[in-house]
Amino acid sequence: MGSRDGALAQGRLYPRGKLVETPPRSRRSVVRLVTLSRLSTALALASVFGACARTSNKNETVLTFSGSALGAEGTLVQKQLKRFMVLNPGIRVELQRTPDDASQRHQLYVQWLNARVGNPSILQLDVVWTPEFAAAGWVLPLSRYGPSSGEFFPATIEANTWAGKLYALPWFADVGLLYRRTDLISGEPRTLEEMVASARGAMSRRGGPRYGIVWQGARYEGLITGFVEYLGAFGGRIIDDKGEVVVNRPEAVRALEFMRDELYGSHVAPLDVLTWHEEEARFAFQNGNAAFMRNWPYPVAAMSDTAQSKVAGKFAVSPMPKSGTAPAGHSTAALGGAQLAINAYSEHPNAAYKLIAYLTAPEQMLERAQAVGQYPTRPALYDDPRLKTAIAIPLDDARRAIESATPRPVTPIYTELSEILQIELHRALVRQAEPRDALNSAAARINTLIDRTGMRKLMSQTSRGQ
């Protein structure tokens, strides 16, 4: 007893019945903890009060621009914004970086717009978002500014029109293209069947590539863009002009069967494509392992770089061909790209429109093509000789591809519709279901969706695209 008291008094303790020392380190650290806590509380309080809003000069209109600002695009955008500010002295534009990954950007936009935040004043929309944002009341119709929509490619204007009104201006276009190896394939394939035959020929040659054709077949939006091209090649559509769901018609079934046959029949496409997004397909083609690739225009720059690409100077592009066995088929390219829209909660819509109009003006578009290689959405520019050096593929091929571009269904419920279709298509492609059953199921579920959301009437009036 007494010795224990004595030990306690001397700062020694009895954990677990043994006589041990309280480590001086532990005691010191406790004291440090308390002092630091007081300091940190002060710091935290200070930072709370420091978190006040940025003050702005009352005479200026401040716009926030949210768009792709990565690398060369970023430098270009900043240059163009600076020029705009010089031309419009009362307006200041700030660049707000948002992730380029589509679903992350979409998530942020939804969060901000749901909270009715006026910044960013200008939104960069993916091509399938415009009807959704328009229906939700998040972007302003542009009719009162009298935009010259006739100067853009009709397909791009269609994709941005909802309920008869234009809601965004097309900024640049992405189209699905067929890349081919010029050293393995003699000429542009005129039909899909010819493409498959050439692919098999190339593969069977000695020293030939491992794959015939590579595309993006993972269960995501890219799968729909690829499917839409085969669909058009066989004359099929997802939704027809009357707003009827026709994705389970015989043409569509044939298109899906053709895709499956590439995997399991002729074996020109490896099973791996069912897990691939754009980059994996690009690397397969870039490393010389494929005779054909379906992809967007962006790989051209990397693949022409002799330092990293094995196919530099050995490839060409063309639009995806139609099927030789379907009379109603036509060469189709999926339409992608970005559009610029005005935030409905922005305090300066007029200034915002000025900025959008400036960025989509011919000079800026040409500059963008030269700096980043993205395709302008104005047909007139394709007659301009300056564009020739900007775009790595012949202008005619580019124009043809955009003119054959078809938007995906233009409806606010597109993401849900696409998800249904993605799941069923992927099931059919991994052989969890037969094409006919998968597409029937997709059609049934899409119809249920349309009825549940009351879109039937709206779709028949304004239905466009595939």
Binding site: L8, Y14, K18, P23, S40, G50, Q104
Partner: protein, 274 residues
């Protein structure tokens, strides 16, 4: 007398586990030193062609220092406050008698039972109303809320297992509650404090969804958000992303190395057996 085959078995299993644990990280380092085009060609265990471009790009093109600074501030502050507030609560829940303790523990836990994505939207609305968007407290407070349950539950469990007789003896000797807390209990709880401190720090360091949603610009964005911004719409710059991951793991690894001795008692107590 040592049973040698048991020790060999133990050592062998440990080595296998270490390889499993470190192999992907080793792979990340190799990949971050490889030119991107070579990554998808043929996989190899050894780097065939070493380049430092990815690391250089991190600090030249992309200013990776600012996100690291932000992450350090947010994670450090959160861990710090979480430990203090959590320890106080744990002491009350473990040592004091009052009604409602189970309800309190359940309430503290309830927050983490919702998927983060459902919480993001309303939390954004709340933080906006409090003018905390794009600020440090705007991240620190949500992080504290979500890290608190683990801290409180672990510390409560630990304190409960520390025998009460020491504090009682001190009380008999005239020590106040506060003294027995700081001089007796706290030093014994250091392993649990160090453990939850490390886990909280790492949680904040890697948290992505809140950081993405509640910050607007590079001045406040943390490391995971910065890495997410590397991606183009289609392009995934593997080399840079992996280089960033390697660089981002370094501070955490250093911190763990420094604190790893505190997560076990035993020798650090300077025991004098007898």
């Amino acid at each position: 007398m040592k049973i040698r085959w048991q020790n060999w078995l133990f050592g062998g299993a440990l080595v296998v586990l270490m390889m499993f644990t470190l192999f992907p990280f080793y792979w990340a380092i190799v990949a971050s030193l490889t030119p991107e085009a070579a990554l998808f060609r043929e996989p190899s265990l050894w780097p065939t062609h070493i380049i430092f471009d990815h690391y250089r790009a991190l600090f030249d093109e992309r200013d990776f220092i600012t996100p690291i600074r932000n992450s350090l501030i947010v994670a450090g502050t959160t861990t710090f406050f979480c430990l203090i507030v959590g320890t106080l609560a744990a002491y009350a829940l473990a040592r004091l008698e009052f009604r409602g303790k189970a309800a309190i523990m359940a309430f503290i836990l309830a927050v983490t039972m919702f998927p983060q994505i459902s919480i993001v939207s309303p939390l954004y609305l709340l933080l906006r109303a409090l003018h905390l968007i794009d600020t440090y407290p705007g991240l620190i407070m949500p992080y504290m809320t979500f890290a608190m349950p683990l801290t409180v539950w672990v510390l409560t469990g630990s304190i409960r297992q520390i025998p009460k007789d020491l504090e009682e003896a001190a009380h008999v000797d005239g020590a106040s509650r506060r003294q027995s807390f700081t001089k007796i209990l706290l030093p014994l709880a250091v392993p649990s404090l160090a453990t939850t401190g490390i886990l909280t720090f790492i949680y904040c360091w890697n948290e992505f969804l809140f950081a993405l949603s509640f910050t607007l610009g590079p001045e406040r964005q943390t490391v995971p958000v910065a890495i997410a911004l590397f991606r183009g719409q289609y392009q995934v710059p593997w080399g840079q992303i992996l280089a960033a991951a390697v660089v981002a793991t370094a501070p955490v690894a250093v911190m763990v190395l420094v604190f790893q001795r505190r997560i076990v008692q035993g020798l650090t107590a300077g025991a004098v057996k007898g």
